[in-house]
Every structure is written in structure tokens, then in C-alpha cells.
Amino acid sequence: MAVPNARRRLRSAAGMQTKWSRALDRITLEAAAVAEATGYASTDERAALEASPLAWVGALRRLIFETDEALSSAARLLGEERAQVLADLSAERRALATALERLTGEVPAGTDVRRPPALEPEVELPAPPRLQASWADGRVVVWAAGRGSSPLPADELDSMLKAADAGGIDWEHHASVALPTGQRADARSAAIAQTLGWLVGVGAGQVGSRATLGASLAWMGEIAVWGAELVASGRMVPVLRGSTGTGGPRSGTARHRIRWVPALLARDRLTDLVDRMPGAVVALQTSPQPEGVCRSVLSAVVDAVSRAGADRLVTPATVPQASSRVEISEAVLSGLDGRPFSAEAEPAARLAEDLKRWAAPVTVGTKIGLTVRLDPPVDDGGWLLRVEATGVDKGPLPVEHALVVASGSKSQQVETQLRRLERLLPVLRRPSTRRGQVILDAEEAGELMFNLGSIVAAAGFEVLLPVVSRRRPSPQLRLFAEAMGGQSQVGVAQLSNVRWSVLFDDLELDAAGIAKLASEARPLVQVKGRWVRIDRADLAAAAAALAERASITQLAGAALLRHAVGLEGNALGGAVRVEGHGWAVDLVQGATTHPPEPLQAPSGFEGHLRHYQAEAAGWLGFLDRARLGGCLAMDMGLGKTPTLLAHLLATRGDGPALIVCPPAVLSNWAREAARFTPGLSVALHHGPRRADAEGLVRLSASHDVVLTTYATAVRDIDALARIDWRRLAIDEAQAIKNHTSDTAQALRRVPAQSRLALTGTPVENGLGDLWAILDFTNPGLVGGRTSFIEHLSRNGEGRAGTEEGALRALNGLLVFRRTKTEPEIAAELPDKVDKLDSCGMTAEQVGLYQAVVDRLLAEDLDQDSTKRKGQVLAAITALKQICDHPAAYLGDHDAGAALDGRSGKLTRLDEIVDDVFAAGERVLIFTHFARWGEKLARYLSARTGTDVGCYHGGLSRTVRDDLVAEFQHGKGPGALVLSIKAGGSGLNLTAARHVVLYDRWWNPAVEDQARDRAWRIGQTSTVLSHRLVCPGTVDERVEEIVAGKREVAGMVLPARSSLGDLDAAQLRAALGLAVDEIIEEESPPADSEEEAA
């Protein structure tokens, strides 16, 4: 601390009477002054000070000076003590200053003692060496140094240049650069042309890092960018330079060359760059002039870029030495790439002067500016183009007026600039009452607004034009409909008066308006406040579209709907905007601008409707109210079943619903209904013991929902057609994609107020599938198949684009489409969805199955429990194989026989694979039986045309690895069959979004493991798992056991030994067919794809 130090000094000085007494007196006095200033002075000290007031003041001044010095030194300290030292010295300084002010009224200048220590002079830490750039003799000189740090030697400079992407430049040794400290920095230099790309990269922030670039180099980068910008704008002119200069005619010959100089420099930008130029840029200049250097660098960049461009042209040869003005002029034109040429000095100097004068209007700065204004027409008048001059008076003046009132030189400048403008806008030369003011027609105005305006602006004139939009407005037909009064009929037959027009964005034009515009050479209209040019071809198409419809003044509701979704086609393409009022208009607007409210889960619904399911159920209600049918086209796994069940529950009591589905999902419907809507009474109409026609009537009257299969529906179509169904829903509606099939034709006979189709893949083979579905749900509404496909095909590029475009066009009205890939839906989906698909048995399967059971029971079962168990397990294996497919059981005995049509499970697998492939996704198929798996893979390969492999334990590791890699990295639809033993664990097959467990395994853990090949880390989508089971067979017993174990003990295997202990009757009960439960596999549709074509 200062005070104790002063005291020590005082004590040590006390009593000393030596030759140093004078000095001691001074020290004693200063110590006393410090003690007094800080409040620690003794009586003697105070008395001594008061005895010598002048000396006291002198001591204080010296002390303050010394303290300031100490503060400056301390400010450069590093480390923890800095703050403390600064605080101590500042406190002492404040005390001394206060004392001085008290004694003399004098406030010491310099350091602000009132500032807190933290604001005391900042430590100026040395700046690390960075790449710097100087300008010398038209070359870029680089070196590396920073304030307060030593410059880098040449080798480190080279490394730094390399790191800053400048290693490819042919740098040359350059004399070292003198720094302010007296040190010298090693340097390299290169011509500007060589460094151009790098410098522009520096200015663009594309090369090097800010940590390695010094301010001088960054500044030069900025200049380089500006130079490139000038050339890109055409803002440069050629001037002629000779080795004798341009100072006037000389005798003899001299070398000359063209130099490109910047034109129309923005003064503000130049001033800003000059102000910000670091001194390092001119470190090599003997008498630096910042603006001169700035212009020099900029000119060099402009020259280099322009020459690079000119160098690409082949120019004619000229005489070796140009003597006449003609020869020199030719040499100038040939030498625009900057190549020097010899020319007679005197005529060359004259030409150089002439070129300089010619270029002066754009190279010599002037405050005179011209503004071009264009005003839109008023009351069908023309467009007013006028020119104003600035810089003559305080405000802009009409140019004609400015020419009169401006002083001599200014008037000349206005004239010069106006002539320049007139060369670019020749319309200004047109005879007019006032110079610089003309009326333009629409074509001229459009040319100025869309083309010439930017060119005139680039040439240095201010241009004020009406706002334009360069986007071409797409014409769209508009149909305004008014339902006819007194009409009692509402719905597809309701007639409306209609009026047609065409919309160009928000601009509506009728036929007369279009004809008027079409008569103009370049039609200009104002759309959303911006002027746009309407394409004449669009106008012609719009006129044709309106002419086509001139006679259509009334339309029925169905036709209105077709127009609204683009099914009527028109020369302008796309849908028609339908507005007005009436049934169809309300419907369209209800589907587009005012979509129906999502359905709140109705009372009695056990579960939660996801938001898109609630929207879908709301849409089903909308269809009900509109008495329309529709296609619920949500992706697989998104919950079409609970959605429809929620709708049926919400509308319960207004009539029976018939649901037709494939046999594999019949049980699933029943289960889901019991789970989500236990309040709905659901009847199954299926199997040999199903109700007859009379019974069916009673069934429909006493139940909310009747479930049946396609084949049963076809067989019982007469009975079904006798009932007035409120709703008919067909699940897996792709079953009717062949509209000529017996199934499709028969189902059309079922009367229903509304028909719904449920499918995840409404377009499997083309838009014809979608037409078949929609024509079923709304017979006749969507028009003919051919026109449907033709009109909707325009909605997208490529097949996939076309199909999605078509679905988009119809979405919300006749189709409700949602996919798993929509982010808001994906976010709501669970990680995995398990589905149990109940599959039918063909007659061949039933026969084989029964035979195996009979044979087992007819055999003398071994009395030994272990052997007996073996016999039973062998029989179970055989039965499971038969459930899979007869070929899985028959093995080689079945070689060469076709597989399709012989197994309910295979039929279901086909459906699943079709859906998966239609969605462009991938599926894993697990089976217990490796040989069957191989057959299955071959079958699927042939059926899908995609190579499907089979992964099993009999393959080498390499082959297995290849199969996995191919599946994982393959694109688009794909499938892989796996043996559950070999592929059930350890693999990572996240490319699959679908898993099919073709047959059941005793241990549910094995099934879970298999499914988890697809559902594991890396999987980003919901995995949909299908477990295929044949009800009424051992297959289902396994399911029962598995389900039981799952609930009881999780992963524990069933006690198989118990099977060996069963007697014949018990075995028949355990393994035999439960006839009532079997789903009889229906014959495949007789119709073929060809029939549908």
C-alpha cells in the first residue's frame, strides 16, 4: 500500500543529516504529502507541509505525475495482480488529486481519476501475426505480422499463405516491409492478375480464416470484390496509356497499351474504403496518398478482370508499328486485352486524349445526376416517362428546366448525361413538347419496366419505375355458380346457373377483358399491386377456354364437383376455382377452405383418436352429410379400422353398416370393434353356418355392423342386395381395382346411402385403380375411366408424381389421404404396431391337415412318453407346415407345382407385399422353415420382379453378409425372407418398415427378436408387424399358448412335455381342426388384369 510505504520512507529519512539532506527533504516532503492526502499524516508531518505550501503543491504534482506513469506501466501487467495494483495506484492518485484540488483548486489533467479501476487504460496485448497485404508498383505484396508481435520469417509466411489457400499463386521474393517498430517483415509479391481469384475469395469470406487474415489483406479483398462487381456491371472503359504518358504529343515511337479503368464509381463507397484503409496497405509507398492507392488497386483489379475477358477473343493482327490514326485505332481495338503495341507517339497521344475525353462522362466524378421516372397511365392514358436532374438545385428539376437554370459547366454536364441517357432510351428523342418527357405505350412501358430499367440503372442513372413482378401469373378457370331458385333437389342433381371467367392470380378477366388485352402487343396488367406481363399464349388459351364454355350456363352438382377437382379438363389445366353458392359449392368449400371439424371421440369409444384419425372421422361425417361416398386412403398402420369404427359409433342408430373385407382381416375387425367400440353390436356373416337371406335381414336389423368377406358377399349378393344399408364399407379396397371383376360388379348391387372404400394403396397400378374405387363409392360422379385418367394425369411429373398429384387434387373431397411420411403424423405414431392377420385355409390345406391328424391318431402311439412326445411334435411340425402352405409340407413331392392359390397365408402375404411395394418400402418375412423360406423367396422374386433373397443357416457367412448388405443399402421396394432361427437375432435390418411373421414360434421372445431386426436403433419409422395365423388350427393353439405365456410369464416356454401325456381325444382337441373357426379360403377372383384394361 502507498501509505505504509510513505511512512517507511518518512521514518527512514527522519534524523538523517547527510549530504543527501536536500534529497531527503524532498522525499520526506513527498511522504508527508502522501500521508496527508490519504488521511494518515501526523501532526509533525502536517505542520511541515503547512510550513512549505509551495513545496507541498510541488510534491503533489510530482507524485501525481509519477502515479500516472506507474498506472501506465501497471496497465501492461498480466496476471492476477494487475487489478490490485491498478486499484491501489488509482486510489493513491485520486487522493493526491483531491489534495491538490483542495490546496489550489487545480484539477489535474490526464488520467480520469474518477473512473473505476476496471476502466483504467486497457492492456494492449500484442496482436498475433496475420497475413497482411501492401500495394507496390501494381503488385500485391504479402507479409505476416501483427501489432506488437514479431513478423514471421519467409518460410512461415509461405506456410501461412498455403493455409490461406494462396499456395497456388506464383509468389516471388520481395524486399522486406518496414514496420512501425523498425522491424522488417519478409515479403512475397505477385501480379494482381495472378492473385485476383484469391483476393475476391478473401473479400467474399470464402478463403482463409478471419484469425489469419490481417486488416490490410481483408481491405484489399473488399476492393477486389468491388472491382469484380464493376466489371460484372459493365462499368469500365478503355483508355490508352503510352510509355511516354498522356501528357501531350511527343515525337518518335513508344509502347502503348489499353488500360481498363473503372467507371461510375460510387463516391460514398470510395470514401468509406479510403477512410478504412489500414496504413499497412501503403507501407511500401514513399508518399502515400490513400485515395490514389485505393483507386490504383481498384483500377488494377478492373483492368485484370477486363483483360481476362478480352483475352478470350481472337483479334485480327495489326501492323507491327502503328503510325496513322487509323492504324492506331485498329491497334487499340486489337489490343483491348492489354497487349502492348508500338505506335507513333504523337498521333497515339492525341487518340489517348480523345479517348479520355470520350470516357470522361463516366470516369470523372460529377454531382449531377439524372432520374428516370415512369408513371402508370391514368384513365386509359399513356405511361408518362420523364427525366429529372439532381445536383442543379436543392431538389430535382425537370431536365429541360435544369438545362436552362444550371450554370455553364453544370448545364454542360446535364446535357452530357442526358445525351448518354438518350442513347440508352431512344424514346426520349421522340418529338415532344418538353425535352426529357414522353408518353409511352404499354409495350414501351413494359420494355422499360422489365428490360431496359435495370440497364439504365447499371449505366449510372436513378430509375424509379412501378413495381413489377417477373413471375408469370398462371391462368385458372373460375366458375361462379348460383343454385337455381325453387329447386327442391339438393345434391349431385341440383342445377346451378354458372358464369365463367379466368383468374390471373387475383385478377379476374371475362371474355371481353381478355379480348381487350389480347389486342395489345405486350399486355400489361396490375396484379396484387405489381405490374405483370401476361403471356399472349396464356391469353389465347384463356380466351379459348372461355369460348368453349360460352354455352355452358347451367351445371348439375355432379358436374360442378368434377370441374372443381379437375376431372372435366380444360385448356388451362388444373382444377377450376368454384365459387358462389349451392350444394356443390358448399361441398367444395367445405372440403377446401372450411374443412370439417375433427370428430371428438364419441361416447363409448374406448381409446384415443389421433389427430389425423379425428380429422378422418370428421371427413367421414362430412361425406355422410353430403350423401357422398369416399376413399379413406390412409397408409397402412395409421388406423383406418378404429377411424371407421369411431364414425360408426358416432352415427349409431341411423341404419346398419356392412363391412366387406378379406378373410385375413375379418377377425381383426371383430377384435378391433370389441376393443374400441364395445357398444356397437357386430355380427359376422361368414362360413358354412352363416345366415340365409331371411336370417341376414334379421341380422342387419338387429346389429349395427355386419362383417363379411368379399367371397361371401359375392355368393350372398342377392340377399345382401335386398337390404337397405346405411353404409357399405369395403376394406382393402384394392380388391375391386378391376372394375369388371365379379366382385366389383356384385358389390355395386348392394344398396347403400354412402359407400366407403378403405385402402392404404389407392393407386397400385395406375390411376385406373383409383377410378375403380371412386366410381364404386360414387357411381358416375367422377366420369368415365379414360377421361378420369387423362385429366388427372396432368397433375404431376412421372408416375409417382401423377398419382400423388391426383390424390392431392381429390384430397379432402372424395379422398382422405394421409401418409406415414408426413412429419406431424410420423411424430404421433408409435414405434411399432403389431397386427394379427387371420388367414384362411384352402381345401387342399384342410385335406392335408386332416390327414395328418387322422394318421397320428390312427397310429399306435408309443407308450414311452418321450417317444410319444416326439411323434406328437413331428405331427405339430407337419401341421404348421400345412398351415404355411401345402408345398412346405410336401417338399420334393410338390416340386414344380405352382404356389399361388393354395394357401390362405400366402394370399395374405401377397396382399401385404403388394401394399409394401406400392408404397416403395421394404419388408422382412420370417419363417420357421428354411426350405419353405427358399421356395417363398423364389416365388416372391418371380411375382414381384424384384430379387428376393432367403437368409438361413445353410448359407456361408459371406453370402449371408451380402444378403444383409444388399437389403440394407437397396433403394425402393424390397423383401427378404429369413429363417427365424438364423435371422431372428443379431442382425440389423432397419431398412425394413414391415415385418411378417409367416408362422408362429412357441416362444414369443423369438418373435419379438425377429420383429426387432427392423425395429432397433437406426430405425426412424414405425415398424408394422404382421403375425399370420390360421384360426381353428394348431397354428392358433400356438397363438393361444403364446398369448397365455405372454400374459403370465413373458418369455417362458410352454411345458411341451404335457403334449406327450395327452390321450387321443385330447390330442384331437389340441391339434384337430376346429371347423367352425376355420376361415375358408376363398377362390381367387376369376377375372384377370387384362379384363380391367
Binding site: L196, G205, G214, A232
Partner: protein, 86 residues
């Protein structure tokens, strides 16, 4: 206490003027919009004072301007300086 004077204010100013800021401020470079009419500026000046056929001079100059603008555009494009087109 040291009697050596600290660097003067003028010295600091000289230093700052020489080196510029230690940390180079990040400057967003302007995006370039190449002119649709490269020779507009030179055309606005009228025919150059060359003793050759005016149309020949204009054709030649226009060709050079077009190539120069192309070179500048390539330079800008290589460094991410081109303004996006409509």
C-alpha cells in the same frame, strides 16, 4: 518508479492506422447481379473516337464487354457472390 514515458496517444493512433483493427470485422460482401446488357455503359458514351467503321468498333467493344462481364461473373460465382436469379 520508472521515468520512461508510456507510448503516446499519437503513437497509438499511428499503430491503429497502420494495422487496422486486430480482429477483422466480418463484412457481408454485396451479391453481384451481372448486367443483362454488358455494353450499355460504353454505348451510352456514343461511338468511340476511333478512326474505324463505327459499327465495327461497336461490335468489337460489345464482344469484349460481354466476355469481361462473363469473366467477372465466373469470378463471383466461384466465390459465392452471385445474387440468386428470379
Amino acid at each position: 518508479m520508472s521515468k520512461r514515458r508510456r507510448p503516446t496517444a499519437s503513437k497509438r493512433v499511428v499503430d491503429a492506422k497502420f494495422w487496422g483493427p486486430d480482429e477483422v470485422p466480418e463484412i457481408v460482401p454485396p451479391l453481384l447481379e451481372p448486367t443483362p446488357d454488358p455494353a450499355a455503359v460504353v454505348r451510352s458514351l456514343g461511338a468511340p473516337p476511333l478512326a474505324v467503321d463505327a459499327s465495327v468498333a461497336e461490335r468489337h467493344l460489345t464482344a469484349v464487354y460481354e466476355e469481361a462481364v462473363r469473366a467477372a461473373t465466373a469470378l463471383a460465382a466461384a466465390n459465392g457472390l452471385l445474387a440468386p436469379t428470379d
